[in-house]
C-alpha cells in the first residue's frame, strides 16, 4: 500500500493501450439505460417508489443517497438479481426485465468485490472468458491487457486472500470489464478503502471510464465522491429520486432542503416572503431580520420560504466591511462560538445576537490575505451576496 502515497503526486498514468481496450478515446460505446416508474417492496417496506431516470450512453452517472435509501436495490434490479414490482428497465430502448443477469450486457463491481476465493487473480479475471470457451492464447492476452489496465500484472498468480483492499477492488473492476459490457454498475466500490486510497482509486476509475467510454452507474453515499467524478447525479432518499442534475446543479441549486443538507453543509433559515422587486426577494427571517435573495421565479409575498446559503459563500470579518455600493449584500453581526480548524480551511460556528447559529467556512489564503486571525468569542461581521443564496419553497 505504501506505493500509493503520496496519493496525488504520483498518480501512475493509465497506460496507453493498443486498440484492444477502449478503442478510440471518447467514442461512446455504452448503452442508454432507461428506468421508468420502478417500484420495489420487501414485505410491507417500500424500498423504491416510482423511480425514473434516463442514463445516457457513456455517462458517469452516480446514485447518491444516505444508507438504506434503495441504491443497491435499484442496482440489483438493473443487473437482474431482483425483479421490480412495477416499472420498466431498458437498455438502448429494449426492455431487459425478462433477461436473466447472465444475458444482460451489464456487469457489476460488488461492494464486497465478490472475488472467487478458489481462483487466482488471473483466473478471476479470465472467468467470463472461460465460460465462453475462449481459446487459451486469447484468454492470456485479454486478461493480460485488463490486468495491465488496472495495474495488477505482477499479481496475476496471487489468490484473492493475498491482496490488499485496493488490489481486490481493481481485480473486481478488471473482471467486470473483460466481458466488454455496455454498462458497468459499481456498488460503493470504494467504501472499504481508507480515505487516501479512495481518492486515488476514484481518479483511476475516472480514467478507466474515459478510456473505455461505456456507461458507468456508480452508487455511493459519499457526496464528495459523487461530485468529483460524475457527469450527472441522482440524489435519492427513502426510495425516491429527489433531484437529477450535474454536480454543479445539485450543489448550487438543490431542489429540496434534504438535497441541500445532504450535499455539503448549508445554512437554512425559515421565513416569510416580505416583498419582491424583479428577481430580488426580501425574506423576513425570524431573529435575523430582513434577508435579500435573488430568485428567477420569485414566490408571492406572504408565502413561506427557506433561505439557503452555503457556509463558504459567507464572508467573515472582524471589522464591519466597508459599506459597499452594492445593495444586495446581507450583513449580520455575531460572535464566534466555536472555530474548527481543518487544515486548508477553518469552519466557524457563529452565534447571531438572536441566538441563531450560522456556519461559515473560511479558506486559508496566502500572504495577501490581511487582517487579524479570528478567534473564539471574537465579535464578527458576516456578509453574503443575495446572488449566493437561494430560496426553497415551504415543503
Amino acid at each position: 500500500m505504501l506505493h500509493f502515497s503520496p496519493p496525488f503526486a504520483i498518480i501512475p498514468p493509465v497506460p496507453s493501450r493498443p486498440a484492444t481496450i477502449g478503442g478510440k478515446r471518447n467514442e461512446l460505446k455504452g448503452s442508454d439505460v432507461s428506468i421508468e416508474g420502478v417500484s420495489k417492496s420487501f414485505g410491507t417496506f417500500t424500498a423504491l417508489r416510482d423511480v425514473s431516470m434516463v442514463i445516457r450512453k457513456g455517462e458517469f452517472y452516480s446514485l447518491l443517497g444516505p444508507s438504506g435509501c434503495g441504491k443497491t436495490t435499484l442496482l440489483r434490479i438493473i443487473a437482474g438479481f431482483d425483479d421490480p414490482d412495477g416499472g420498466e428497465v431498458s437498455l438502448d430502448g429494449t426492455s431487459v426485465l425478462n433477461l436473466p443477469p447472465n444475458e444482460r450486457h451489464v456487469n457489476t463491481v460488488f461492494q464486497n468485490y465478490a472475488l472467487f476465493p478458489h481462483l487466482t487473480v488471473f483466473e478471476n479475471v479470465a472467468f467470463p472468458l472461460r465460460l465462453k470457451k475462449t481459446p487459451n492464447a486469447t484468454v492470456r492476452s485479454r486478461v493480460g491487457d485488463y490486468l495491465e489496465l488496472v495495474q495488477l500484472s505482477s499479481h496475476a498468480e496471487k489468490m484473492p486472500a493475498q491482496l490488499s483492499g485496493g488490489q481486490k477492488q481493481r481485480v473486481a473492476v478488471a473482471r467486470a470489464l473483460i466481458n466488454e459490457p455496455s454498462v458497468l454498475l459499481l456498488d460503493e466500490p470504494l467504501s472499504a478503502l481508507d480515505a487516501k486510497l479512495r481518492q486515488h482509486m476514484l481518479i483511476e476509475l475516472d480514467a478507466i471510464h474515459d478510456k473505455i467510454g461505456i456507461t458507468f452507474i456508480y452508487v455511493t453515499h459519499d457526496q464528495q465522491e459523487a461530485l468529483s467524478v460524475s457527469d450527472r447525479i441522482a440524489v435519492m432518499n427513502a426510495g425516491q429520486v429527489l433531484q437529477i442534475g450535474t454536480p454543479h446543479e445539485i450543489y448550487e441549486s438543490p431542489a429540496t432542503g434534504f438535497v441541500a443538507a445532504f450535499i455539503g453543509e448549508t445554512n437554512m433559515f425559515e421565513g416569510t416572503v416580505e416583498s419582491v422587486e424583479g428577481t430580488m426577494v426580501a425574506v423576513d427571517v425570524t431573529g435575523l431580520g430582513r434577508i435579500l435573495v435573488t430568485e428567477d421565479e420569485p414566490p408571492a409575498p406572504g408565502s413561506k420560504a427557506s433561505v439557503v446559503v452555503r457556509p463558504e459563500k459567507i464572508r467573515i470579518d472582524t471589522e464591519r466591511p466597508a459599506p459597499a455600493k452594492r445593495t444586495d449584500i446581507n450583513f449580520l453581526e455575531g460572535s464566534v462560538d466555536e472555530p474548527i480548524y481543518s487544515g486548508s480551511s477553518t469552519k466557524y460556528y457563529v452565534r447571531h445576537q438572536s441566538g441563531t447559529m450560522l456556519k461559515v467556512i473560511k479558506q486559508h489564503a496566502n500572504w495577501s490575505d490581511e487582517g487579524p486571525e479570528i478567534e473564539w468569542k471574537d465579535k464578527v461581521y458576516l456578509s453574503w451576496s443575495a446572488d449566493d443564496a437561494y430560496l426553497l419553497g415551504a415543503s
Binding site: L2, A79, G80, F81, P100, P101, N102, V106, N107, T108, F110, Q111, N112, Y113, A114, L115, F116, P117, H118, L119, T120, F127, P128, L131, K132, M159, P160, A161, G165, K168, R175, A176, N179, S191, A192
Partner: protein, 305 residues
C-alpha cells in the same frame, strides 16, 4: 513503518509462554492408545498367525490367512462391498448437497438441523427394523401398493442389494448433510450472484463457484459416509440377501461361525487398508484445493435473513 512491523512479528519477548499442549492432549492420547492403537496392533498380529483349533490363534507366524484371501468368493464380496459403498456414498452426497444448501439458506436453520439430528435419538437397530416394517412383504409400502391396485402381489423389496443401499444411504445421510451444511453455511452466496453477473447460468454458478468452494465439506462428507459403509455389518445382515453380503459380514462369519480368527483379522486389515487409502486420496484432493479462506471479506451482503 516496515521495519517496525517485521520486528513485532519476529520478536516474542523474553517471557516465553510454556507450551502445555502435550499435557492437555495426554488423556486423549492415552485413551486412543489403549482403546484404538492397541486393538489395531492385536488385529495386525492375529492376521499373521495360524488358526487355533477351536477359534483363537496359535502364536506362530503364518501367512495362511492372507493366502486364503486369494479366492473368488472373497474377491466377489470385496467388489460387492466396494460397489455398495461407492453407490451409497454418491447417492448420499447427491441427496445431502441440496439438503445442506437449502438448510444453509433457510431462515429456520435450527429447526432443520434438529430434524436431521432427531433420528439419532432412536436406536440404530430399531431404525433398521423400521425399514423392514416399511419394505417387507407385509410391510407398509406393499400394503399401499396393493391397496392402490398398482401391484397384484407383494413386491420383494427386502433382502437384496437395493434394500441394503437404501438403508445405508438413510443411515449415513446425516453424516453427509452435517459437514456439507456447515461449509455451505459459511459460503458467501453473493459469489453466486457475481458468477451469474459474469455470464454463468444458474447451474453453471453452482458447478463453477459453489462446489469448488465447499470442496472441504464434500470431502469430509464422502469420508463420513464411505468409511462406515465399507465396514457395514448390521444393515446387510438384516435387510440384505446372499448377493449383498459385505466384508463386515464376512468378518463376523469367520469370527463366530468358522472360528478362523486370523482370516477375520486379515479381512479387517483389508477393510482398514481400503478406507485408509480412501482417506489418503481425499486428503490429497483437499491438499490440492486452494485455500478458500478470505478473512478480509468485509462489508458483505447484509440482505441475508
Amino acid at each position: 513503518m516496515a521495519p517496525m512491523a517485521v520486528r513485532s512479528r519476529t520478536s516474542r519477548g523474553p517471557g516465553r509462554v510454556r507450551n502445555y499442549g502435550p499435557a492437555y492432549a495426554g488423556p486423549a492420547g492415552i485413551w486412543l492408545t489403549v482403546f484404538f492403537v492397541a486393538p489395531l496392533l492385536v488385529i495386525v498380529a492375529y492376521s499373521f498367525m495360524a488358526k487355533g483349533l477351536y477359534g483363537g490363534v496359535e502364536p506362530r507366524f503364518s501367512l495362511e490367512a492372507y493366502r486364503s484371501l486369494a479366492n473368488s468368493v472373497f474377491l466377489r464380496v470385496s467388489m460387492n462391498t466396494l460397489g455398495i459403498s461407492l453407490v451409497t456414498t454418491v447417492l448420499a452426497i447427491l441427496i445431502a448437497l441440496p439438503c445442506g444448501y437449502y438448510m444453509a439458506r433457510s431462515n429456520r436453520k435450527t429447526l432443520l438441523l434438529m430434524l436431521v439430528i432427531i433420528p439419532f435419538w432412536t436406536n440404530f437397530l430399531i431404525r433398521i427394523y423400521a425399514w423392514i416394517a416399511i419394505l417387507g412383504n407385509n410391510g407398509f409400502l406393499n400394503a399401499l401398493l396393493l391397496r392402490a391396485g398398482i401391484v397384484a402381489a407383494p413386491v420383494q423389496f427386502l433382502y437384496n442389494q437395493v434394500a441394503v443401499t437404501i438403508v445405508l444411504v438413510y443411515t449415513y445421510l446425516p453424516y453427509a448433510i452435517l459437514p456439507l451444511y456447515s461449509t455451505i453455511e459459511k459460503f458467501d452466496f453473493s459469489l453466486l450472484e457475481a458468477a451469474r453477473d459474469l455470464g454463468c447460468t444458474r447451474r453453471g454458478a453452482i458447478f463453477r463457484v459453489l462446489l469448488p468452494n465447499i470442496r472441504a465439506g464434500i470431502i469430509t462428507a464422502v469420508l463420513f459416509v464411505f468409511i462406515p459403509t465399507f465396514g457395514a455389518y448390521a444393515v446387510p445382515l438384516l435387510v440384505g440377501g446372499k448377493e449383498s453380503y459385505m466384508l463386515g459380514n464376512f468378518v463376523a462369519e469367520e469370527l463366530t461361525r468358522t472360528r478362523n480368527w486370523p482370516l477375520a483379522s486379515a479381512i479387517s486389515m483389508v477393510i482398514t487398508l481400503v478406507t485408509t487409502l480412501g482417506l489418503w486420496l481425499m486428503f490429497r484432493l483437499q491438499g490440492k484445493a486452494p485455500q478458500a479462506k478470505d478473512p478480509a471479506r468485509s462489508g458483505g451482503e447484509r440482505r441475508a435473513p
